[in-house]
Amino acid sequence: MKGIIQMKNRSLNTKVFFVLGILASAAVAISYVGLNKMSGINDSLNQIVGVVAKRVLLAKNMDADKNELKNQEKVLILEDTQEGMQKIAGKLDGIAKRVEQTIADYKQLANDEGKKNADELARVIAQWRSVDEELRRLSFAGKSKEATALARGRARELMETFDSVLSGIVERNEKALQDEAARTDVEYTRARNMVLAVSILSILAGLLSAFFIMRAVGKAIDQVISSLRDNANQVTSAAQQIAASSEQLSQAATEQASSLEETSSSVEEMNSMIKKNSDNAAKAAEISCSSQQSASKGKEVVGEMLKAIGEINESNNQISEIVKVIAEIENKTKVINDIVFKTQLLSFNASVEAARAGAHGKGFAVVAEEVGKLAQLSGNAAREISDMLATSVQKVNGLVTTANEKVKVGTEVAQQCGTVLEDIVEGVTTLNRMASEIANASQEQAKGIEEVTRAMTQLDQVTQENAATSEESASAAEELSAQAVSLKGVVQVLIQTIKGGDENQQQQNTAAVASDHGARVSGPAVAKTHAKVLHIKNANSRKNSAGSGAHSNQSKLPEPLKKAVGGDYSSGNGVDTTSEDDPRFKDV
């Protein structure tokens, strides 16, 4: 027991080798005992086969040869031809030699007593040979009666002696055989008992040590198996969770990528719009700038106009001066009128004086009359001038008054114009400033959105990459999950191998565990089934909608979707794998 407790810390190899060692040493012990005893038995057998049996054999041979000798002797005696006799004599010689050789052989194998017997036999045969010589001689001489007598007498005696010695030998050796057989029996029984004892002992020892070691190993293996099974289950469920969350991650990343792509495209669109705005604002600024210049010019022109009006006013004033001058002229005309009146008075006086002077004054009277006429003309002219002047003054005064009024209005209008233009200039300046501001802002915005676009592009690329990567990691996770399930299968096989048990039962267990965690592993098959359902369902709904005949030009339209292009698609969230007819959808 102590050894086995110590064995606990040894490797499985050591333990197995320990048991095997016990069994091997038992085998060695059994072999040793068996071989040992077998060699004893073998010795006995050798003794029996190689010595005793051979002795008996030789004795039998000798007996046979002796009989042959006796027979040939008789034949020799009965033979009447010399030739036949010679032939038989030769045979007899051969047999006799063989007997002698057999005796010699026997002597080699024989024990002391046997050797004596052999010598005896050799001696008997030698005597028989001499008798046989005599017998041949008699036979050749045709004395068959004597020969027969010799054969029945001396020769038979010798042969009987030979027989008795031989029987002794055979008898003794048969006894020896029986002794050897008895000894072998004993040896065998002993060997069997010993081998049985050693075998039982070593089997017991082997079983005992195997029992303890296997019990120790079995406990360890049980622990390993149970933790292996637990671990395999955990790994499977963890792998499936990873697969599920990877799938979700992948889906999210793909959605994010789509969102971002759309945002990115929107930003690009906005970018181009902002660029357009920026251009337009710049153009507006330019136009407002030139408007400002035009308005400024207008203001200048109005200023000039005001100046011109001022000048017109000035001219009016000058015209007033002229009126004054004309008034003065009128005054002066009054002087002329006075002068005309006085001249008329003078001419009248002169004509009066001329009339007084008579003939001498006659010419003077003509002059006076002419002067009077001139004065009359001057007076008329002066009156006309006076009238014209009065009219002129009146007209000019009217004109000046009107002009003054007009100038007043003109000035007012021009001043208003100036104000308006000033407002315009101010407005256009503001407009220009604003347009410039807009242009600048748009430019900045354009720059900004360019930055945003660049950032979006980068973000987009990274997100696309992430989406791809997460998709790949999702498929890797799927693979991992499948591997985990297969690992569980392997563990099951291992358990079955180690613990034994019903294969079907085991498989059922595996399947049950797999379906606990592995709903997604069997996804594609489920997806296919649902795809079929989808197809049928849509075909039906199409029939219904065609039946209701909502629209007259239905035939023109592209066929309502019933089945999209094939391809296995399945996302982890079950949106694609769940049928629309699933009874688990409930009204809430």
């Binding site: 990528a257 789509s258 969102s259 792509e261 759309e262 495209s265 929107s266 930003v267 690009e268 669109e269 906005m270 719009m273 592009t457 987009d460 690329q461 696309q464 990459e465 989406a467 791809a468 990567t469 998709e471 790949e472 498929s475 890797a476 693979e479 991992l480 591997q483 709903a519 989808l534 849509n538 709904s541 909608s545 909502a550 023109k556 339209l557 592209p558 066929e559 309502p560 979707l561 999209a564 292009v565 094939g566 391809g567 698609y569 969230n573 079950g574 949106v575 694609d576 769940t578 629309e580 699933d582 688990r584 959808f585 409930k586 009204d587 809430v588």
Partner: protein, 292 residues
């Protein structure tokens, strides 16, 4: 030990992702342009690369050059072209996205439309409907208007170029978290909720689904098979992917499909870039007739 090593190797192998050659990008870009009108700038190489990588995996191709030569051999109309298009479209959509549009419809458009038109059947086109959220949002909003007797009846035609998203739209199954985007008064009215293992899912009720017909349609295919039909056209966040020329073509096609007093609603960051018969009403809203 061996398994772990091989797993590491395979993960490493996958992270060393195949880069797309510029020539391949050029080909794929012009292919998607002629298929769908989508314009992709140079900066979208990464996008194209990541979106098409799954095609390489599905088809068991080494790199994008192999994919390019595969596509070059395919006849037009081969299913892979659809897969290719599906992979490259952006399917961003939301419930009640840009809610001011729906407010406009209910509070401004519908009352005027009701006064000025003889019919009370309202027909709406959700062009580029993606996974159907917009179409079902319209369904919810218009159902409310119908119950208030603001309109008599309505129908929604929803189209998209991507068959994959249409599949989802037809099913009408969404994550329950989407309810966060939807006003609470619609929740129980419009959706059935999953129980048990699918308690994270919701499903659009058949009564709402019936009001929407989904079609596979490419907006750049002109003329569109509708003429003077739609009172409201939603084509939001589509033009951001198109060039000016394609926008002009699609906008003209939408104009033909729209009814006399129709309104067109586009994304808030989009503009029709002038040169169209649509009359600007306010940011992202245009009108065909003189109703406004």
């Amino acid at each position: 030990m061996v398994t772990r090593c091989s797993a590491e190797r395979s993960l490493l192998g996958e992270s060393e992702m195949e880069e797309m050659k510029y020539a391949d990008f050029q080909f794929l870009r012009s292919a998607i342009w002629s298929l769908s009108g989508i314009s992709l700038s140079d900066s979208k190489r990464q996008l194209v690369q990541s979106r098409l990588r799954s095609r390489l995996q599905v088809l068991g191709l080494e790199d994008f050059s192999a994919y390019r030569s595969l596509l070059q051999r395919l006849p037009p109309g081969h299913p892979e072209w659809q897969e290719f298009t599906n992979s490259l479209t952006t399917n961003k959509t939301d419930w009640f996205r840009e809610p001011s549009h729906f407010d406009f419809l209910l509070s401004e458009f519908v009352p005027r439309w009701r006064r000025l038109t003889r019919t009370d059947h309202l027909k709406v086109w959700s062009a580029a409907c993606s996974t159907g959220e917009e179409a079902y949002t319209l369904s919810m909003v218009l159902e409310r208007a119908k119950r208030r007797r603001e309109i008599g009846s309505y129908e929604i035609v929803a189209t998209d170029i991507d068959t994959e998203v249409l599949k989802r739209a037809v099913k009408g199954i969404y994550l329950k978290s989407a309810l966060n985007q939807i006003p609470v008064e619609y929740h129980s009215q419009a959706f059935a909720t999953g129980t048990g293992e699918i308690s994270h899912l919701i499903k659009v009720r058949p009564s709402f689904k019936q009001t929407v017909t989904f079609h596979h349609f490419n907006l750049t295919e002109t003329p569109a098979p509708w003429s003077g039909e739609f009172d409201i056209v939603f084509c939001r966040n589509v033009f951001i992917y198109f060039s000016k020329e394609v926008i002009a073509k699609v906008v003209a096609s939408l104009f033909r499909a729209a009814a006399r007093d129709a309104v067109l609603l586009i994304g808030h960051s989009e503009s029709l870039q002038g040169a169209s018969k649509w009359r600007y009403l306010r940011p992202s809203i245009y009108t065909k007739g003189g109703m406004f």
